[in-house]
């Protein structure tokens, strides 16, 4: 029984793709997931990102088997896993709070799953040793979780997942509890790990920076539906609506309300903004990223509110057309709050949105 299961899993390891088909989740009357569908290829690093309550963690837990699926199917490999218990899905989950067994040593934490499968001791030691070496935690093997720092615990949590050699790695906001510097370091390590192991990864985070830097493919979610799926660059250059446009990219995109008249975008307070060729008439929102606004002698005027020098670049919060916007300049500037600056947008990078918030393709 166990042998054939492992054989099947080994064969299916070739195609550890994940298929989410019109999945819904209801908690009583609360509709958490309203029909989401997406495909994840074998070996892909997919990030589920979105604000709190969008359903990304719910979806991940349904992948793991910790939540039931109200409607729709989930396939891992080529198997429908709806009714399979977590241990039969061959997935490993790295928790936000690590969820290490407090009464077991690091070594025991990492061996537990294999011990449950009656794996021979020598094999366990070998796998644990390997994983420990990859994650640089070999000297921590005899310690207890309470003796470790946050970053070390995170590594052990990952080690526990690696040892199982699953078809899919699931990460549930693993870096949220780490300080900023550690987060940056761990991001790179996780990415390297993925390049080395080449296993499919589904990674949940609310931090779009993590999403942008780590993902092969990003799934943006909001309120139980998928807003857009694409590579980081796709989402950055061609966001489908104002939500995605404002969510991806930091500092986030500026939105200026107004309407199109005589080939220009007319905003409030008589501000006229340039448009790219062939812009459609029904655009009511003018989107431009902070880094695509150039300071100069000419352009539309804006009143400086706050200057935030960041060393090699400067972030300026200003007001134009009764809207607060952000400008990102790669120079050091000596500006005073209250002064007026003149901004020229990079017209090719302007995004226009219709009354429904959908981006207008040019």
């Amino acid at each position: 029984m166990i042998g054939s299961h492992m054989l099947m899993a080994a064969l299916e390891k070739q195609m550890a793709s994940v298929s989410i088909n019109d999945v819904q989740k209801r908690y009583g009357s609360y509709h958490a997931l309203k029909g989401v569908s997406t495909q994840m290829a074998d070996g892909e690093f997919v990030v589920l990102v979105g604000p709190s309550g969008c359903g990304k963690s719910t979806l991940l837990r349904m992948l793991a088997g910790l939540e039931s699926i109200s409607e729709g199917t989930i396939e891992i490999g080529s198997r429908v896993v709806n009714d399979l218990r977590p241990k039969d899905r061959d997935v490993a989950l790295v928790f936000q709070n690590y969820a290490l067994y407090p009464h077991m040593t690091v070594e025991q934490n990492m061996s537990y799953a294999l011990k449950l499968m009656n794996t021979p001791k020598s094999v366990i030691n070998e796998k644990v040793g390997n994983a420990a070496r990859i994650l640089n935690i070999t000297e921590l093997l005899k310690r207890y979780p309470r003796q470790l720092s946050g970053g070390q615990r995170q590594r052990v949590a990952m080690g526990r997942a690696i040892v199982r050699d699953p078809q899919v790695f699931l990460f549930d906001e693993p870096l949220s509890n780490l300080d900023a510097k550690l987060r940056v370091q761990m991001r790179a390590e996780i990415k390297q790990l993925h390049q080395r192991l080449k296993t499919t990864v589904v990674y949940v985070t609310h931090d779009q920076v993590e999403a942008m830097t780590m993902a092969d493919k990003i799934v943006v979610m909001r309120d139980g539906i998928i807003e857009q799926v694409g590579s980081p660059i796709e989402l950055f250059d061609r966001p489908r609506n104002t939500f995605v446009a404002g969510f991806i990219g930091s500092p986030s995109m500026n939105f200026i309300p107004g309407s199109v008249k005589d080939g220009l975008f007319v905003a409030r307070a008589g501000v006229h903004l340039p448009l790219p060729d062939g812009a459609r008439v029904d655009a009511v929102t003018y989107g431009i990223r902070p880094e695509h606004l150039k300071l100069g002698e000419a352009g539309f005027p804006a009143d400086v509110i706050v200057i935030e020098p960041m060393g090699s670049s400067t972030q300026i919060i200003a007001k134009v057309a009764e809207t607060v916007i952000t400008v990102l300049s790669t120079e050091r500037l000596a500006l005073q709050p209250g002064s007026t600056i003149y901004l020229t947008p990079h017209v090719e990078s302007v995004h226009l949105f219709d009354p429904g918030g959908q981006r207008i393709e040019s």
């Binding site: 793991a64 218990r85 241990k87 928790f95 969820a99 407090p102 537990y112 526990r160 199982r164």
Partner: protein, 284 residues
């Protein structure tokens, strides 16, 4: 700084006045042959030597220890299992908790009295029900047979104290981290494995806490025995506390009674200290 002492000391002083001071006096009395008659004379360790030649004391001591160990073992195991049952999200939470807590609100003497009525042999409710169910044919001599009586007394104690154990275990179970169980679920543990590999080890501090308090409680048992058997039949269910009481207050032999009390104290400290030490080690 002085203010702190004004705030902190009154309670402590009251407590010490009624525990340590009498304790010292008991200790002193135990070295005398004090009684209602005559002048007390210092007699050193004579009382203690006599203790260990006293058959009644030795049987009381044996029974007290056996009774305590049996009671706390059953209370701990049942308490944990029932606590798990009650945490299972079943319907009728409120009424379940209420019924479960009723024995706790009862005075030990009252509990003993009620059970005594049920234990009545020739036609008491317990024997009748068991006979109707076909489990027994002869009425069980619950309180008049030496061996059975010991068992009957333990049942009453367990019944009375189970509620508290359940509450404490529920608190302990409630504090267990939920995501650790999810990790175990993903690692492939079934319910039994989760219980033995995770729940039990993580509940060690709670378990030792229960054992400590129940241990110290049962070893002093006086009221239940008074209400059920008054130590009988013969001295089959005589506990140390009951014996001490009899010597001190009924025979008015203060010196000897005090010696028994000191022995009781030592036992209480021993069992409490043992589990306190285990508790301390388990919660590091």
């Amino acid at each position: 700084m002085l203010v702190a002492y004004w705030i902190v000391l009154p309670a402590i002083l009251l407590r010490l006045a009624f525990t340590v001071v009498p304790l010292v006096q008991t200790l002193y009395l135990s070295f005398t042959n004090s009684s209602l008659m005559g002048h007390p004379r210092f007699i050193g360790l004579q009382n203690y030597v006599a203790l260990f030649q006293d058959q009644t004391l030795l049987s009381s001591l044996t029974f007290t220890i056996v009774y305590t160990v049996a009671s706390i073992t059953i209370e701990t195991i049942l308490g944990l299992l029932i606590a798990i049952l009650l945490m299972q999200n079943l319907q009728g939470r409120w009424i379940s908790n209420f019924l479960m807590l009723l024995p706790w609100v009862m005075a030990p003497l009252l509990a003993a009295t009620v059970w005594k009525i049920m234990y009545y042999e020739d036609g008491g409710i317990l024997n009748e029900v068991l006979r109707d169910l076909g489990i027994i044919h002869e009425p069980v001599r619950w309180l008049s047979d030496a061996t059975t009586a010991k068992f009957s007394v333990i049942v009453v104690t367990v019944w009375k104290n189970l509620s508290w154990c359940i509450l404490i275990f529920m608190a302990g179970l409630g504090a267990l981290p939920r995501d650790v169980y999810e990790a175990a679920e993903i690692d492939g543990a079934n319910a039994i494995q989760k219980f033995f590999d995770i729940t039990l080890p993580l509940l060690k501090p709670t378990t030792y806490l229960v054992l400590m308090f129940r241990g110290m409680g049962e070893i002093q048992t006086f009221e239940q025995i008074s209400g059920l058997t008054r130590g009988g039949p013969g001295t089959a269910t005589q506990t140390l506390a009951l014996y001490a009481y009899q010597r001190f207050f009924q025979e008015l032999r203060y010196g000897y009674g005090s010696a028994i009390n000191i022995l009781l104290l030592l036992l209480t400290v021993a069992i409490g200290g043992f589990f306190a030490w285990r508790l301390y080690r388990a919660s590091r």
